[in-house]
Amino acid sequence: MTTRRTVLKGLATSAAAGLLGPSILTKAAAAATTSEGTWHITGSHWGAVKALVKGGKVVEMKPLESDPRPTDMVNGIKGLIYNPSRIKYPMARADWLDNRDKADRTTRGDNRFVRITWDEALDLFHEELERVQTTYGPSGLFAGATGWRQTGQFHSCTNHMNRAVGMHGNYVKKAGDYSTGAGQTILPYVLGSTEVYSQGTSWPVILDNSKTVVFWASDPVKNLQVGWNCETHESLPYFDDLRDKAAAGDIRVISVDPVRSKTQKHTGAEQLYLNPQTDVPFMLALAHTLYSEGLHDQEFLDIYTLGFEPFIDYVTGKGDGGVEKTPEWAAPICGVGADRIRDFARLLASGRTQLVFGWAVQRQQHGEQPYWMGAVLAAMLGQIGLPGGGISYSHHYSGVGVPQTGASMPGAFPLNLDLGKLPEHDSDDFKGASTVIPVARWVDMLLNPGGTIQHNGHDITFPDVKMAVYCGCNPWHHHQDRNKMRRAFQQLETVVTVDYSWNATCRHSDLVLPACTQFERNDIDMYGAYSNTGVVAMRKLVDPLFASKTDFDIFTQLCARFGRDKEYSRGLTEIEWVENLYEEARSANAGSFDMPPFAEFWELGEVRFGRGEDWVRHADFRDDPEINALGTPSGFIEISSRTIGKFGYDDCGAHPKWMEKLERSHGGPGSDAYPLWLQSCHPDQRLHSQMCESDEYRATYAVQGREPVYISPEDAAARGIADGDLVRVLNSRGQLLAGARVSEDYPPGVIRIHEGAWYGPEDASIGALDTYGDPNTLTMDVGSSKLAQATSANTCLAEVEKFEGPVPSVTSFGGPREG
């Protein structure tokens, strides 16, 4: 049958060179050989890099010359390839290998593994899939969790695992993610799009039009170092422009954050401190001020929004038991003086104001509320859809705000089965359980098979899962509450993990298969996840190290176990796939963006499409709200949502509300026992947990070999802690060792440990001390609300004490104990 693919293939093969004009190509060829070796261009989450290869070894990595603001993390990439934590060969947990589903699961996590051959490993993988499908059916298998795979559109390991396991049988999948779970669920009801992954107003437009730019718990200068695809870093020079405009008094830049962020310091922004987790009371008081002083835009509310009345009744105290959300009401909760709140409200309304929210405030209990309230404030200001006005939830992510070229980008290896194909085990009998689980609730799923939760207007029934498969995904970094996870993992008969380095997920698995790194395979990537700046070639630098294989090879060989390897690979080799993905993009761009034939591109290393077009988010809606209706149930901005109201949830109602948290610092619940709020935001010197194992690079920021815990001078002094001390951080859920970094950037009552620090428990016991400093040893595993059921990682209190006694060595790195 005619598919788009075949049509495009036809287009590709016939698009003759004569019809295409000259290409916009970089002059330097990708490979330049000198006596010191050969320099190759390749791509990564950390940007495009040049690698010097000599004698079959990568000897140096440096940023591409054209990268406007290379990240320091490029210095850590080489350490990913040559690393003692690399998985060298297939391994099985010792007891599991002997006893399989009858094995002792309480020893899972003791890190004792034995080496097996690839044939044994893939046979075991296949046998276990077979056993689980025939014994339990599809509800017994969880293979939906995915993560920040290495870059490369062809080798994207999420797609390989899903296609191969999906060819064998059906399985339980996940919905949402750990970064934006609450935001991507609430904002469709409010602004009609997930927003968190949407393109934002172009930076040149903001710089030209905004009078005030507010970074609300957003630290783009830190987070824009990395990208979902090959990052261009074109966004970062705009922060220099912003700094200059702030210095010249043209733009007022304000950072609403308890901590002095990297962005605040880079741009010279003013800080507006508020107590952690109290954004909503602060914002309600801002709304009260705007309304009571007549600073809100009633005409905008009338034309573009619905449901302002029930909300403003709540603010003015006509609803909610008569509590009026005045600045005086909010001040003691949020720690900001009533006059300061009023001044800030007036400032927001005084001219063009761009609100820029980060993701941290929605990674907490009731994380839906501050995001909804942000949209309400923006609606009251009436600047949504104007250049340099309105609200963004994405400007810290993957180059959002860089004008987009509009070029078509290479597709990816198919995640799905080919059209009309069925799995070997095509039963879709999930025994009455849900087939899709909100991702942050999968540990609850393991602990409560058959249990139910509410989620976004539906009831979820947990399946009885017996086997899990992970590939390029590290749940033992991104999920909360390690000791609860240890209990939950004892429910699993078999855990299979495919990765390139021995992280804590491998440690808690039964079967571990070594994939190679992205630098050991040929691939292609888009340059700029949002800007579509170009396409970058990712030429293999060295052959797969040790016994590792590409994900493509691993899963092709798994499919051979049930006779479907040719269907899996479509009989194409790695380089044929890469060429096809490129040529499909080339034909899609024909007539709009010139691309050279693949062979030429492969030599050049990259192709670029020039500067993109400036753009204003929601301008089309503002221009014509009827034709360009939002994706909300009504098509308008929903300040109150009847749809959500009808769900009847006690933790997410019909309009944004302030609700107390299970744990909150600065006098909130639980602060008498554990007074410090632990924030576990994205790291400055890793990509989540990627690169933590890069030893030399980790040494540049670790403290006594441990992950830093940032603490205020006041809190440190009160506990007799000096900068550089080894400390124990603890609460009722767990304990970890970390190295104290005493910093003026942190206020009293606030500590930070960056997420992604590798979990390294002393032993396999529940409650074991984490020897390196993974903050999720301490975080709470509860859903944000019944609406999103997202992670609440930033609702977490802890205590810090100076560590005394014999110091355990770090167990996180260096792979398993063999035998």
Partner: protein, 393 residues
């Protein structure tokens, strides 16, 4: 003397009545001439069926003939060459004559220089190609199949990739041209038409019957009257209409839909409270009670907005419809699965409600290469297969 003047003179001579010749002489002469002409005609016909004749015009010689020489149909390891008539002239006599009669248009084009420059040729290439594609689609690629046949294919001798694409095509007896457009000459420059719509073009309803339901497979312009003078708006992809009357290539149609009573009522939706678009009207048309007949309003409990049922009667070009919505959904579901699984597993359509899909779709579609028409079709597909339309979720 120019070709145009010669033609005019010849025409004038033919039009003049006979002045001095008797009827008998005229009849006999006609008979004899007929014999001579018949022989001449067949000879001439055969002459026009040679490559030499085809490329005697520089239009063919400079353009498509050059392109052919870059392809496997010109030069290959087995030494078999396909010449112009092998592919472009039917081999069976009646069809051949029919094609030759159509060719009079090409003579006209030659005489008047319709494509006598490269620029003119490129500008018309799409139109010319579409004629040829339509002809091959109509006969299921007969001229290709004179040499290539599914039954004669040795699957074992083919590459895996070729088998991957070819076997499903063989099972459905798909015509060669469906996939292999541009195999012997360059493809037209992209016209801006979505590849998805191009896929559906061959499946469009050839004639519309009164009283039947049809579905728009491409943006269809609506008009306020049968003269199609004043545009009234556009049908959305996937919109269902009932045909009331057909007259030539104009069709009078009706649409049962709903609209929100906030704004000008320009956007029409398929059901009460459901944001699945079926049409967007011009402001004037939306307010014209003669064209848009509104019923009693009902309040949507999920938003508090009032909705009114509307019966819309408008006119459109008869092109742009398919008789079976399944044709649209097949194309859309394939596009959805392929485009939305690059980064993650795509959710099942019935995982979300009709009114939730627009937000989720708009939040993520920027990561795909879908063009505007494809986006519209895929979103409509998702909304029509959402949890509101599913009994299992």
């Amino acid at each position: 003397m120019s070709a145009k003047k010669t033609l005019v003179l010849f025409w004038d001579t033919l039009r003049s009545p006979p002045a001095t010749i008797s009827l008998g002489v005229l009849a006999f002469g006609g008979f004899v001439t007929g014999i001579i002409f018949w022989g001449g005609f067949n000879t001439a016909l055969e002459v026009t069926n040679t490559e030499k004749f085809c490329i005697s015009c520089h239009e063919m010689s400079d353009n498509v003939y050059q392109e052919l020489q870059e392809t496997v149909h010109w030069e290959n390891r087995t030494g078999v060459r396909a010449t112009c008539p092998d592919c472009h002239v039917p081999h069976e006599w009646t069809n051949k004559i029919a094609r030759k009669m159509q060719a009079s248009k090409e003579v006209w084009g030659k005489v008047f220089g319709t494509i006598n420059t490269r620029e003119k040729f490129l500008a018309r290439r799409e139109e010319l190609a579409r004629h040829e594609w339509a002809r091959l689609e109509a006969n299921n690629s007969l001229e290709c199949r004179n040499c290539h046949d599914y039954d004669s294919m040795d699957w074992d001798a083919m590459s895996d990739e070729a088998v991957f694409y070819m076997q499903p095509a063989a099972e459905l007896n798909t015509g060669c041209i469906d996939c292999h457009k541009g195999i012997a000459h360059h493809l037209p420059e992209p016209s801006g038409d979505s590849p998805v719509i191009a896929q559906l073009e061959g499946k469009a309803a050839r004639s519309l019957s009164s009283g039947e339901d049809y579905y728009a497979y491409k943006p269809v312009t609506l008009f306020t009257g049968a003269d199609r003078a004043l545009p009234a708006g556009n049908l959305s992809l996937g919109a269902r209409v009932k045909v009331l009357e057909t007259s030539g290539d104009t069709v009078k149609l009706s649409l049962d839909a709903w609209r929100k009573n906030k704004g000008y009522g320009r956007v029409l939706y398929d059901q009460f409270g459901m944001n699945t678009r079926v049409a967007v009207l011009e402001k004037d048309a939306a307010g014209d009670a003669a064209l848009v007949e509104a019923g009693a309003a009902e309040t949507d409990d999920n938003t508090g907005l009032d909705w009114s049922p509307v019966k819309v009667t408008l006119w459109a070009d008869a092109e742009g419809f398919v008789a079976d919505a399944g044709l649209l959904w097949d194309v859309a579901s394939e596009s959805y699965a392929a485009s939305c699984s690059g980064c993650h597993a795509q959710p099942d359509p019935d995982h979300f409600s009709t009114n939730a899909w627009p937000a989720l779709f708009s939040g993520m579609v920027g990561f795909t290469n879908m063009d505007a028409s494809e986006q519209e079709l895929v979103l409509t597909y998702l909304q029509n297969h959402s949890s509101d339309h599913s009994s299992t979720h």
